[in-house]
Symmetry: C2
């Protein structure tokens, strides 16, 4: 059984996230249906292993997953075959043959996420599913000043939603940057780290927006990290602005 690694883009709008859930349309479900169809419906159901979950309405430009097929098919034929079987809101960007022990979740070194924020007062109907929107006035300079405080190894207990299951909440953020896109009336926040907890990035963005609006001091991030208190950072930025951009191995 050769193992394949697929790089996948999806528009999260009409999905209940990545993970298979009974009775829900999820990305993993659609991929497993396509892979099993391509394998001519084998007796044992083939699984698709992703690098990690994404929530309902969260998008991906570069999610990574692995799966096995019971016979050898060239990687690009797998890409083309899956593409014809998948719905239009999932795109297969690349398929590669990998070592039998490749694991999309356990072998991931780091992940990069982007958060797209729309800054206009007028809510653009074409962006409603693709950006977060913040009605209040923002001072980008304050957010630019604060965002670097996220970089480094920290205990992110103040930045995790209830319901997380990991043993430790210590993670490292290698890079946290803010890019202004005035021509598109957007601000992009980008984060690269060795792993992120449940809702961590959406809470990190929420804190930045409160800083940019003046409702939190610009130096509040080190205090929040030190507090290790899930009650302190309560605003979670909306899911539809978040994109899993890439996973590095």
């Amino acid at each position: 059984m050769p193992r394949y690694k697929a790089t996948i883009a999806y528009d999260g709008t009409d999905f209940f996230g990545w993970q298979v859930q009974p009775g829900k349309r999820t990305v993993q479900l659609e991929l497993e249906n396509a892979v099993n169809k391509m394998a001519k419906n084998p007796e044992e159901h083939l699984r698709v292993q992703g690098s990690g979950r994404t929530d309902a309405r969260v998008h991906a430009m570069g999610q990574v997953a692995n799966f096995d097929l019971p016979f050898n098919i060239p990687a690009d034929s797998v890409r083309k075959g899956l593409s014809t079987m998948l719905p239009y809101d999932i795109g297969i960007k690349k398929v590669e043959i990998v070592d039998d022990d490749f694991h999309a979740q356990f072998n991931a070194h780091n992940k990069t996420y982007r958060y797209r924020l729309s800054t206009t007062q007028y809510t653009d109907p074409f962006k409603r599913n693709y950006t977060g929107h913040w009605g209040r006035k923002l001072d980008p300079a304050l957010m630019q000043q604060a965002i670097g405080d996220y970089e480094g190894e920290h205990d992110w207990l103040s930045f995790v939603a209830s319901g997380f299951q990991q043993k430790t909440t210590v993670r490292t953020v290698y890079r946290a940057t803010m890019i202004e896109k005035p021509e598109d009336d957007e601000i992009w926040f980008e984060f690269t780290g060795n792993g992120f907890l449940y809702n961590q990035i959406r809470i990190m963005v929420g804190v930045l927006l409160e800083i940019g609006s003046g409702s939190r001091p610009v130096d509040d991030i080190p205090r929040l990290l030190a507090a290790k208190d899930r009650q302190q950072a309560r605003f979670t930025a909306p899911a539809q602005g978040l994109y899993l951009m890439s996973v590095d191995y």
Copy 2:
């Protein structure tokens, strides 16, 4: 009853087009609901008059419509009020108070449409509802050479879908241009004219794509115009690539 002129954007994906139709979700229906709610549900149902219809899945960046309200409200308050009452896939860009005899359809001098074509082999899931997609290889130089043949006053009988109801099929195209957007893997076709018939632009784009693919000669447009035969140009480019950009008065 003051008369208002509204400039409207909408994501056509989830609409059965502009025009009210029994049992269907349309843009005009949503606007009339909002206007009547804003007017505190008057005894006589208030109508919203658009500059013209758009088909199911066709988008607008600058549709124009007029309506009356039974009492005086400042234009920008009407914009804000409608914006809070409308669904997220309709955006009100501007509201102005106009003369009582302003009519969004009859007073329109010209309209500009854009057709967004995605040129990648890989079908981007984020573009599935927002661009047309053409799987075959295209030579942009051929389309660039041909598109100017659309300019001028012509009888467009070869470029209208069956079911049209206009008395004459003569219309003038003032400007027909093609813009390559290699950074986005897109080609944009833009057309300004004094009016367009049912499906006219989608058929015009279809002919250009056939020219670009080599399945029609590059000088075929003058022949098609002269033929005045609805059987000759049969391919209609998909609705989701089409945008009503602006209406001039």
